[in-house]
Symmetry: D2
Subunit: 146 residues, 4 copies
């Protein structure tokens, strides 16, 4: 599959359309079929014990997967998550950013499936694993079908 939006274009898209998340999240690279996104961990993401909370991990996976899909289909703001499953496997390391490494497994006409593995920056073993399904709206002329 070809890349139609690179990391720079995705970050510009996030900054314009998702300003609430663009401060904390950045697409770092797209290498082959793996997109890497970073959560710049700040106090707002922490739970008791000083580690990143589940909803912040979920948000990182959601943004990484969304960007991985957009990297293939372009800036379709209306693509929406229909299903998400996440396995929380290890406590994130304290004081480290989180990285999501994401792969698109299926890019169909109306559904896309992707998965992300989440790591503490520098750690070899994953903090969490997530898969999501996105519903992709039909292109303009058929829009009335929605």
């Amino acid at each position: 599959m070809d890349i139609v939006m690179d990391a720079q274009a995705l970050n510009a898209f996030l900054a314009r359309d998702f300003p609430q998340v663009a401060d904390d999240h950045v697409v770092e690279a797209i290498n082959g079929d793996v997109l890497t996104a970073r959560l710049r961990v700040a106090d707002a993401h922490l739970r008791p014990g000083g580690t990143v909370g589940g909803p912040s991990i979920f948000a990182l996976a959601d943004i990484a997967i969304y960007c991985a899909i957009l990297s293939r289909i372009g800036p379709v703001a209306l693509a929406v998550t229909t299903n998400a499953t996440i396995d929380f496997m290890r406590k994130p390391a304290a004081g480290r950013d989180l990285l999501a490494r994401c792969r698109v497994l299926k890019l169909g006409r109306s559904l896309a499936v992707a998965e992300a593995m989440i790591f503490s920056d520098g750690a070899p073993e994953p903090v969490a694993r997530c898969s999501m399904t996105y519903s992709i709206p039909p292109k303009q002329p058929e829009n009335s079908r929605l």
Copy 2:
């Protein structure tokens, strides 16, 4: 199953141990086996189009399910989510709070399973459905097994 923490006790627990979420989230009631929690929707929760974003819906489900489990076992701060699955089914209504109605399906010695249905306040059809598994740490004398 008996209720060992009521809504008031759960809200006090959230305020003390989870101050980042206690402003936005409140346990409203426990009726029979259903716990109801509310997300007081604010600008920080909104995505483009003015509706509540997926991570905020996930966070509400997480807090509601956590509280539903604590209502049965008491304030075990170390219970952690190990798996979460969420189906996003409808766009939340604009300008409405979200309500989670949550039920504990299994309360085992080491694992608990619960589900939550998420509604826009006043709307009959669910915005999302979520199930989660929590790992419950063993009681003190056996703590060394961890």
Copy 3:
């Protein structure tokens, strides 16, 4: 939502189109928004210890949810499961049939979401909980879009 296929019509559909499963599985009733299906447990479904294995529980949930969706949209043989999540919570009781109680949560133009709770016949607490998403093919004139 109206019922367009009742239990009798669904069982006839299974017998014709899914003869491999129609011997073991039967739609028992549709009451309000709950469809109940039964797995007539036989030796082929058992795992070591004499209880029904996970794949047989999955198959029952799949058939119950498929029939619940068809009960609303009619005999669309091409509807396919795109995502399934199942929580196995308790060991099935030995020597008992399994019952699935299933509810459609969303019936959209292209996606349907439903959930099933699985019980050992006569037991009050669920053996498993399952949710599935089905992709529904567009109606004939639009078939070329697939």
Copy 4:
């Protein structure tokens, strides 16, 4: 993680403890951290249209993941699936066996998480993706805690 049961030992274990599935399923190889298992597709696995049905795909993933966990911990017959999520992404190719490639993501004291990607033999793109959590019973002396 070390391998304590190889493919031959796992197939012998299946033949002895799971005779119902051992005819159709075989562990082919363990290379590094990937276990490969095969479903020898037969008529009993087919659904209308001549492709392998969802429950048979689920069963293959279940057996592959179970064996991948046993390859690390030895023949613990009591390990049980607590959660499974499967994304069905493409129709299996007609007349081909299915292969599961499975990886253990976490092997904790009481929970293991693994994932499997399912392919039609010879096809490059996955038919399905599955992740499962297994509950591992405590070792003998602590057995009374169950």
